[in-house]
Amino acid sequence: MLFLPKLINEEGLRIDGRRPEEMRKFRIEAGVLKNADGSAYMEIGGTKVIVAVYGPREAHPKHIALPDKSVLRCRYSMLSFSVAERKSPSPSRREIELSKVIREALEPAIFLEEFPRTVIDVYAEVLEADGGTRTASITAASVALADAGIPLRDLVAAIAVGKVEGTLVVDLNGVEDQYGEGDMPVAMMPKLGLITLLQADGIFSSEELDKGLLMAKQAIYRVYEAQKKALKRRYLEIAKEVSGAE
């Protein structure tokens, strides 16, 4: 018989003891890399992602440049040691697809038309994967873009909702993602209330979709507040240090 873990217990708690609408503990930090123009680090439960942004910079090779706007290039990649079994470092089908998905989630937020003939590069590296790597990458990437001083309409925050044993849950972890019945990542520009990414894998009824979106929205606002704090923290720390020295 196939062994299936019990994902929701009698008390309605999830495998890691969370309530259905509860997110994992998370932390966002901006400006973690010195050599990149902008960078951010995000940790959510067991998932760890670091994102570096370069640009706008000169387009190489030259023919990819567009005459009227900047080109956004994204690369999502998982490090060899990010999963239990060593992952080959060459980009897999899944990584190539996620790179495209992340690019399309970020593109509507950026004023690309302000920098014609240039490229903006976003590199998302997954240090450790435990579910929700694409949403963590999007969240961290928008912080890194803002940190690089690139003009944005709004930050982009993302979270996944899913269905586990018939219950809608927020922020799936690795096990829930693997054995659950559905997974729906959502990315939003929270201040503008616009959705930039909506994927769904599994079967959701239309009521579940509505409820899931609402749950995702609430979680996204929490992520958004943390993003803003992370961006401001660095500058406030310098201010504190200076006023402390006087």
């Binding site: 240039t118 944005l152 803003k228």
Partner: protein, 229 residues
């Protein structure tokens, strides 16, 4: 019609600055009659005037800017200059000599070689083509001595200060010559290596603490302490 920010507050992209009749200077956009910030920056509020000062960003050439560039390539009749920007600049031979001259390619490298630094002025730029530079005016030309410091281009106005107060102070108490390029490259010329390295430290301090008020006094105290010690 409210203002949603306080004076000298740090703002991030997507934050609402104000709603209604205000004069806003800087990187913002309007959506549903509200002013949103596009960038991470600092707001200065003075009555109805709001100014957004960017904290980070790349240098975008502007006609009339004095920049410090580095020669990266030599063409048939021009040099390609890196000006610390997403756009590479072009320096034509005609913008180097005032008289019409015919020079061969090898002669170009004798005038300016790869790796040389130049103080130049932007004479044309419109995003559709690379910016053009000139070194025909006074105080422009090849850099022969000095120390180069690179800072975030958006903090250059702080190095200059209000009506040049900061740079005047630096020049006076350190007795060094300072040439500030709008692209975030700053040249310090002095015969005393100690004074020029002190100037480098002072500029780095300005860059780091650009968003905190009372900067000129703090930098003055910093230099005075170092000079005494």
């Amino acid at each position: 019609m409210p203002i949603y920010v306080s004076n000298r507050q740090i703002i991030v992209p997507g934050e609402v600055i104000a709603e209604g009749n205000y004069n806003i200077d800087g990187d913002f956009y309007i959506y549903q009659r509200k002013f949103f910030s596009k960038i991470i920056g600092l707001v200065e509020v003075e009555g109805n005037n709001i100014k957004i000062i960017p904290l980070k960003g790349k240098y975008i050439p502007n006609i009339g800017d004095v920049v410090i560039g580095k020669v990266i390539d030599i063409g048939m009749t021009n040099w390609t200059i890196d000006i610390n920007s997403p756009y590479q600049a072009i320096l034509q031979v005609t913008e180097v000599f005032s008289k019409p001259t015919s020079v061969s390619r090898s002669a170009l490298s004798e005038i300016l070689n790869v790796g040389d630094l130049v103080v130049a002025k932007v004479i044309a730029f419109d995003f559709s083509r690379d910016p053009l530079l000139t070194i025909k005016e006074a105080r422009l030309g090849k850099v022969t001595k000095g120390t180069l410091v690179e800072i975030t281009p958006t903090r250059v106005p702080r190095v200059i200060g209000k009506k040049g107060s900061m740079i005047k102070m630096l020049k006076e108490i350190l007795k060094v010559e300072i040439i500030v390029g709008k692209n975030g490259r700053i040249l310090i010329i002095s015969d005393d290596p100690e004074r020029s390295s002190l100037a480098v430290l002072a500029i780095k301090k300005i860059e780091r603490e650009a968003h905190i008020s009372g900067l000129t006094d703090r930098v003055r105290n910093f230099i005075m302490n170092k000079l005494r010690g």
